[in-house]
């Protein structure tokens, strides 16, 4: 198992910011079908803030790097997604203050579980409500099983990403219950959820950057 240091986390988050910005229009298109079409914009604003905040930090710890994301989403974004992603990043940061072994599958299982909980607590969504919870909850369950089974981080994150995308796919048939999208009711069926999609992109980037960190640099 390759070594994962704080620098790798920062690199991963910078890579995530690029990836989200490159998916801006796609995420907007998904949100157009179900919500108000701005998800790619909100995510890009938050991710630009994350990058800006990282630029201002000198060799941040993993927790500090995630907190840079929490602050960006707290200060720059607003909307429903702002506070939710603020708490998602904050949950990761807090978890990584306690769990310092960045190469351990158990560390990331704890991170994912904290995120899944924060996502639900902040916005009040439960699995099946057609939100990003439908990506984080199965992803957390998958990486927890992998950790319990002694799998390495690479396998754990791969399983999490797979479960997240599976979750996105399942949102397609759901009807949203919360937020703007809920106004659409049945009209929203047949389209995957935008927030679940961006969550899965985030998990995928973690898999690519942390699961095989040598490949990334």
């Amino acid at each position: 198992m390759a070594d994962i240091d704080d620098a790798a986390i920062e690199r991963m988050l910078r890579r995530l910011a690029q990836r989200i910005e490159s998916e801006k229009d796609h995420l907007c298109a998904l949100d157009s079908a179900v919500g108000d079409g701005d998800h790619g914009v909100s995510m890009t604003i938050g991710m630009r803030g994350l990058t800006r905040n990282l630029d201002e930090l000198d060799s941040p710890s993993a927790a500090e790097a995630f907190r840079a994301g929490a602050e960006a989403f707290a200060d720059d974004v607003g909307a429903a997604i702002g506070p939710i992603l603020e708490e998602v990043f904050e949950a990761a940061a807090r978890t990584l203050e306690e769990h310092r072994d960045l190469a351990s599958t158990a560390t990331w299982a704890a991170v994912f579980e904290a995120i899944a909980r924060a996502a639900q607590d902040t916005g009040g969504a439960r699995p099946g409500d057609k939100t990003l919870v439908d990506a984080w909850v199965p992803a957390a369950a998958a990486i927890r099983s992998a950790a319990d089974a002694g799998a390495d981080l690479s396998a754990g994150l791969a399983g999490a990403a797979e479960a997240a995308w599976q979750g996105v796919e399942e949102t397609t048939d759901l009807v949203p219950r919360l937020g703007r999208a809920s106004r659409l009711g049945e009209r929203a069926r047949g389209h995957p959820d935008a927030g679940a999609t961006s969550a899965s992109i985030m998990i995928e980037v973690m898999r690519d950057e942390l699961g095989s960190p040598g490949a990334a640099s």
């Binding site: 701005d38 707290a74 909307a79 506070p83 009209r187």
Partner: protein
């Protein structure tokens, strides 16, 4: 290479991601005699906070001018946080606005009952209380009849009725009334207010670059929300008199204003000419007079827009003496000036 996507965008802008900041800067420069900046995305009236006065904070996403920052000023709100386009402001600028508005007598938040707004304003209210000991009360505006059925009024969103509710709220606070009375009067204003709109075309959020939804060249949607939220009925373009009849039919079925005094607002969403708003007003007046409704105040213009959307709405607010006088009270805000009845 141009740094921005021009396709489908007939806009007078620079980098779309600078839209909110640059328009805020221009606004502050144009109105430096009336308002000041109190945070990266928060403004307040020049003389805020006023000791002993209930602080009024209104807000929401950008793209709706004159709402929200255009209504900060004398006889208007004390402060407003500014969100990204069509997106609730974060808790931080809401808190900054709260601190700027706080004169020690409590603060009232009023906004349009969108999920994101509720989340962020509630977070700011909690922080205002725990970190600063400020009592915050919230009055959600829920005038959009098309946004939820009658038995779920608390799920309704706020649209053009914002203007009436905010005006009453701000004028009541100007009387130096206490927090409870300000809240009670504002809630009554909201309870008395109903709006139904009609959308004719979409608008384009600059950073996205594509219209947020699609209406065909000959289509309209009754009850369409100000961000493109789905309405009640889509159809071919119809003569506007028939639309006004339908809009008022929906409103009067939800709340019968017959026999009451009301204020009327015909609000344009941005691209609809004022002439068309007056054509709507003319028909509304005919219908309402036929229904025994007494029109005491009328507003026709652009009060809450959605960028360059075409469309309009009609709002009625029932008036008692207090609400009438508060609505009629003078105001000097960057985008709303009203002389008092004394000068009227």
């Amino acid at each position: 290479m141009r740094p921005w996507n021009v396709v489908d965008m007939k806009k007078l802008i620079n980098d779309p991601f600078d839209f909110v900041e640059e328009s805020l800067e221009g606004f502050l420069l144009a109105h430096e005699d009336l308002v000041k900046r109190v945070g990266r995305r928060a403004i307040a009236r020049i003389d805020a906070p006023i000791e002993g006065k209930v602080g009024v904070v209104i807000g929401g996403g950008s793209g709706h001018l004159p709402a929200f920052m255009g209504y900060v000023g004398r006889g208007g709100a004390a402060a407003a946080p500014i969100g990204n386009i069509f997106a609730s402001p974060p808790a931080k600028p809401i808190l900054e606005a709260t601190l700027a508005a706080n004169g020690g007598a409590g603060v009232v938040y009023s906004y349009g009952n969108y999920a994101g707004d509720v989340m962020n304003f509630d977070r700011a209210a909690a922080r205002a209380k725990t970190e600063h000991g400020i009592d915050v009360e919230t009055v959600l505006v829920t005038d959009d009849v098309a946004s939820a059925p009658k038995d779920q009024v608390d799920r309704r969103r706020g649209i053009a009725g914002d203007f009436f509710v905010f005006k009453v709220l701000a004028a009541k606070a100007e009387t130096m009334a206490d927090l409870a009375s300000v809240v009670a009067t504002t809630r009554r204003a909201n309870d008395y207010t109903r709006t139904v709109g009609v959308g004719l075309s979409a608008c384009t959020v600059p950073a996205h670059g594509k219209p947020t939804f699609h209406l065909a060249d000959d289509e309209l949607e009754v009850g369409l929300g100000v961000h493109g939220e789905p309405g009640i009925r889509r159809s071919h373009i119809e003569p506007v008199d028939a639309l006004v009849d339908e809009i008022l039919g929906i409103i009067l079925a939800d709340k019968d204003y017959g026999g009451s005094d009301v204020a009327v607002l015909v609000n344009g969403l941005g691209a609809t000419p004022y002439e068309e708003l007056y054509i709507m007003y003319r028909r509304a007046r005919q219908v309402l007079e036929g229904h025994g409704v007494g029109i005491r105040r009328s507003y026709v213009g652009e009060y809450i827009t959605s960028l360059e959307m075409a469309g309009a709405s009609i709002t009625l607010m029932q008036l008692d003496e207090e609400l009438h006088d508060l609505l009629a009270a003078p105001a000097k805000c960057p985008m709303f000036v009203q002389m008092g009845a004394a000068r009227g």
